[in-house]
Amino acid sequence: MLSIKNLHVNVEGKEILRGLNLEIGKGEVHAIMGPNGSGKSTLSYVLAGRDGYEVTEGEVIFEGKNLLEMEPEERAWAGVFLAMQYPVELPGVNNMTFLREALNAVRKGRGEEELDAVAFMKLIREKAELVKLPEKLLKRSVNAGFSGGEKKRNEILQMALLEPKLAILDETDSGLDIDALRVVAEGVNSLRSPERSFLVITHYQRLLDYIEPDHVHVLAHGQIIRSGDKSLALELEEKGYGWILEEEAAA
């Protein structure tokens, strides 16, 4: 589904990703862990197409297409979704309007019929229930004045609505207490399917107790320096990142 080969990315002239390789198959859940500054968020933004990330080398192929040549909205239509670490507030833009706009833009981009207001209302109620987002937050401005947990739930709501093929969760656990984390993880788990892949980016192992990965990778200095199964995450939790970085330095 997603194939990243030798990806080099500069941000403001500084090389952040230095030859990253990653293969994600259909239906797989991959976790990327790494210390601060290792390039985790850069990876997620590059995949979503944010400005300011200069790819100097390498390629990203998503479902046979060159992802890096696509506009952010085209990536969304193709089925890439980034749940952001810091969801953006859109003052004055009603959340419901935003969600409907996004859904219909994506449906249109995928060559599907747009949903009318009645069908949308039915769908959004159902999905909001899934992530336990209070209905009153649908009537407010997007993310404006939302708590950290509400913002993340709103992200997962969007994910549930847009039904991506590849969902990237960028530090979705940051700033969440354990209850909020559980709700968010349950939402994510309910969206797991053989057709949908996940890339879960996180600093802590905690999230992976709830969202169980098939593969775990360690990102450091802009490269994946180790891959393994979920036991690697537990090992990292126990020993921290120090040992792995030392081993890498010694090698």
Binding site: G49, E73, F81, V88, P91, G92, A102
Partner: protein, 433 residues
């Protein structure tokens, strides 16, 4: 630069075209305004209130004041939202196009000229008492040339269920541009309540000057919501000044949405005369290439325990320019005043320009007052967020602009008007690209 000579000769050309005063009792006021014109300093950049507002091209044009009621009107009159519709052409009330039949008997809503001619005591007592005739050139001209406009009067305790809707339209003979200069007098007696909607539209006109002065008297406990949509033609000059006299516990909610005009100047002047009154002024302006939207507020807290809130937002694009000059004065005795003033501007292009000047003058020591202005651009993260959710770039910009404007529009309590306002905003946004 505008000289005193240019200003005087321009004003005289308008005054000469006017017939004698419509009523002997009005002569003193009109004479006073006429004399003021001879004395007033020129409206040029040496005056703070005109520093960023260049009306020289206007003063180099000739206009024909419309001095009598047009016989008819060939154009279409837009559909009204409410049953109470008053139509004005070139500033004159058009009874045949209006419908006030469903208003309660005790309510007066109609022609100021008729009330003047009839020697209506309510008009005699109040006309010219709220708006200073010599505030500046344009109020002086309006006063010197008073003829028609709206006269609205609600007796004590009358609460209107449906809004009263005004349509300001223009006609043309294709030759000299016309000057419409309505004078409006609105009096709400104690406890009366009304909602007033105004649409300023080109009608058949393209190139014209609209110079309105409204005097609004709110007696104790009276409440008025006053929504204006200014959608003049692109060649039109629009001046509008609303002067308010607010009694105890009265409340005024004013919203102006300014979309049109070559140069549009909106002024509010609020005076609290007794405690407990509140005044909310809001505005939204959109302005593009070579146009100017100009707002001036003068809110005076002379007495204690009054509150005022001023919130204005502007969307500027192309080479659009805006001026915002908001002044709140809290006098020494006006303790426990509550005042908040904000002006936010969104510049969609590099060549757009805004001069914003909030002024808080506070002479009392126990007040709550704040002000803030911003001038900014759309946040790239916001656009990216929308695009990452599949919303195309251009649509993302529109949504964010709508969101920015929604914070004003959402305060319109009349839903169909709110929808109209949003539709009108979208029309502007759709022309941006």
């Amino acid at each position: 630069m505008i000289t005193a000579e240019l200003q005087k000769s321009w004003a005289r050309s308008l005054l000469e075209a006017a017939p004698s005063s419509p009523a002997p009792w009005l002569e003193a006021l009109q004479r006073k305004a006429g004399e003021a014109i001879e004395q007033l300093p020129p409206v040029n950049r040496k005056q703070e209130a005109w520093r960023y507002t260049n009306v020289e091209p206007l003063l180099k044009e000739r206009f024909q004041p419309v001095v009598s009621r047009p016989a008819g009107y060939e154009g279409e009159v837009p559909e009204a939202i409410t049953p109470h519709r008053l139509v004005f052409v070139d500033g004159w009330f058009m009874p045949q196009l209006s419908d006030v039949a469903l208003l309660p008997q005790e309510v007066t809503a109609g022609s100021l000229a008729e009330a003047i001619a009839a020697g209506d005591e309510r008009v005699k007592n109040r006309l010219g008492s709220v708006a200073e005739p010599d505030a500046h050139l344009f109020t002086a001209i309006n006063t010197a040339l008073v003829n028609d406009g709206l006269f609205l009067h609600l007796p004590a305790g009358v609460k209107l269920e449906s809004p009263i809707e005004l349509f300001w339209l223009n006609s043309t003979d294709g030759e000299t541009p016309r000057l419409a200069q309505p004078r409006n007098l609105v009096i709400l007696e104690p406890g009366a309540e009304a909602v007033l909607l105004e649409h300023h539209l080109p009608g058949q006109g393209g190139h014209y000057l609209h110079n309105a002065v409204s005097e609004i008297v709110l007696d104790p406990g009276a409440r008025l919501a006053h929504y204006r949509i200014q959608d003049e033609s692109e060649q039109a000059w629009h001046f509008s000044r609303a002067a308010l006299d607010q009694g105890s516990d009265s409340s005024y909610h004013g919203i102006t949405l300014a979309f049109g005009g070559r140069l549009s100047r909106t002024e509010y002047e609020t005076r609290f005369t007794a405690e407990g009154a509140s005044c909310t002024l809001r505005g939204l302006y959109t302005v593009g290439d070579d146009k100017l939207q100009d707002f001036h507020l003068d809110v005076r807290h002379d007495v204690p325990h009054c509150s005022s809130r001023e919130q204005f937002k502007g969307l500027l694009y192309g080479k659009g320019r805006a001026v915002f000059d908001g002044r709140i004065l809290v006098a020494r005795d006006a303790q426990k005043s509550d005042a908040e003033l904000t002006n936010d501007n969104l510049l969609l292009t590099r060549n757009a320009e805004v001069d914003t000047k909030p002024q808080l003058e506070i002479y009392a020591d126990d007040v709550k007052a704040s002000h803030g202005t911003t001038v900014g651009q759309l946040e790239p993260e916001q656009i990216f967020y929308l695009r990452a959710r599949g919303v195309p770039q251009q649509r993302a910009v529109h949504l964010l602009c709508e969101g920015f404007a929604a914070e004003i529009i959402e305060h319109i309590t009349v839903e169909p008007l709110r929808d109209q306002a949003l539709a009108r905003l979208r029309k502007t946004l759709s022309q941006l690209d």
